[in-house]
């Protein structure tokens, strides 16, 4: 059981800056995120896209912003629990007991939800029968590529993941690559490689096709793919891989007794506290009159929520507002010299 002054759910820009604010005022915190890396939407959805409205930063990409925020946290010792999703939040003796899907448990007076639009999950195929093969012979990520050796693998998608795996698996599997249009959106080198492998007969390329049906009992035996012209082809296949990127799902947050409207959590604008004492929501996931879904708003919300956490974490102390330019104690926390 981990005890901490505050637990942040979500390691996107808002979660990261909120962690900074908590540490600055002397509170401990830990961060949980379902993704395997820090950065949230910035790193998952638009790492290369330039952002132009971060105050004092004329232009930076999602990845640069994330790296800067991580650098800003360097003076502090903050534990990140990546690849973990918070499943349960419940009150025990006036303190929150939080559990993740990997059974990590936290005891904390303060839970800050900085969850964006929820947790990222793979986008799935549309035919209903796909579900029963999921995790057995149909996958949305590759954990052990050795199971595919000398088998027929049908890969769907047109981005880097689909292309990279088509190239990789073509070495010792029979690969079908199926995509809804002629153009691919991966790195040009990989696209060229796929086309040359297709020419050499190492990859069977099917463009303007989508998955229509999966046939099989326990294991997949074949799939039907449908062309834009409605022509249907049956392909014998052992495994199906789908790479359609990730989608955000609100997930377990919906079950924590919070006031939720249109996938956002209602908060006040003093503490950014929800209807549950000690649970706050900041960034894209929170909602209040005038809410703007901008990164800069998330920073402001996190700064105020952090101050609210102080009261519950240190009930016998008084919070004193200080500037980083002049406070000796803040400079000590930052590990910089005082004048």
């Amino acid at each position: 059981m981990i005890k901490t002054d505050a637990l942040i759910i979500g390691a996107g820009p808002t979660g990261l800056f909120t962690a900074h604010q908590l540490k600055l005022i002397g509170l401990s915190c830990e961060v949980v995120d379902n993704l395997d890396k820090i950065g949230g939407q910035c790193i998952e959805l638009y790492p290369d896209k330039p952002i132009y409205d971060i105050p004092a930063i004329p232009e930076c990409t999602g990845e640069e912003l994330t790296n800067n925020l991580i650098n800003q946290l360097k003076p502090f010792d903050i534990k990140f629990h990546l690849n973990e999703r918070v499943e349960e939040v419940k009150k025990e003796n006036n303190i929150w007991l939080v559990k993740t899907n990997k059974s990590t448990a936290f005891l904390t007076p303060n839970v800050i939800i900085a969850g964006g639009v929820g947790s990222f999950e793979p986008r799935k195929f549309s035919p209903k029968e796909c579900q029963k093969f999921e995790g057995k012979s149909l996958f949305y990520s590759v954990k052990d590529k050795n199971i595919f050796k000398r088998k027929v693998v049908s890969i769907f998608g047109g981005g880097d993941s689909a292309l990279d795996w088509a190239v990789e698996l073509s070495k010792d599997c029979n690969v079908n690559l199926v995509h809804r249009r002629d153009e691919f959106r991966g790195a040009q080198v990989t696209i060229d490689k796929v086309h040359s492998l297709a020419k050499a007969g190492k990859i069977n390329l099917f463009t303007k096709y989508q998955l229509a049906a999966v046939v099989g009992d326990q294991q997949i035996e074949s799939i039907d793919i449908k062309h834009d012209s409605n022509e249907v082809k049956s392909l014998k296949t052992d495994y199906v891989l789908g790479f359609f990127g990730l989608i955000m799902k609100l997930g377990p947050i919906a079950n924590w007794g919070l006031n939720i409207d249109k996938k956002t959590v209602e908060v006040d604008t003093e503490k950014f506290e929800t209807n549950q004492k000690g649970i706050y929501a900041v960034g894209d996931i929170c909602n209040y009159p005038g809410k703007l879904k901008l990164i800069l708003s998330g920073f402001h919300e996190g700064a105020l929520a952090a101050r609210a956490c102080f009261k519950l974490a240190r009930p016998d102390e008084k919070y004193r507002f200080e500037f980083t330019t002049s406070s000796k104690i803040i400079k000590e926390r930052l590990g910089v010299k005082s004048d």
Binding site: Q41, L45, Y46, R185, Q210, F244, M248
Partner: protein, 106 residues
Amino acid sequence: MTKITYITYDKKVHTVDVQNGLTVMEGAVQNDIPGIDADCGGGMACATCHVYVKEDWFNKLPKKEDGEEDMLDMAFEPKTNSRLSCQIVVSDEIDGIEVDIPSKQA
């Protein structure tokens, strides 16, 4: 104001007036029309405002950017008349446009 007709998957027809300059996505969100999630808020980064534009209207719209076509690869059951509604700007030219909303966004 421009008239836009959204047809939800259950065949319900919602015709609303949307201010010029907004997007077809915003028109749906502001009028509480179900089935358009718009998770990323119009940044062409999520493909959850996916619609099917009626053929004759589809051909009248300005062409898709590459980025939109890339995102449509991720959409749920894309078709040849698929668009991201956040990329269709409302103007007098599209007065009367009809879009079908897919059964789900993901």
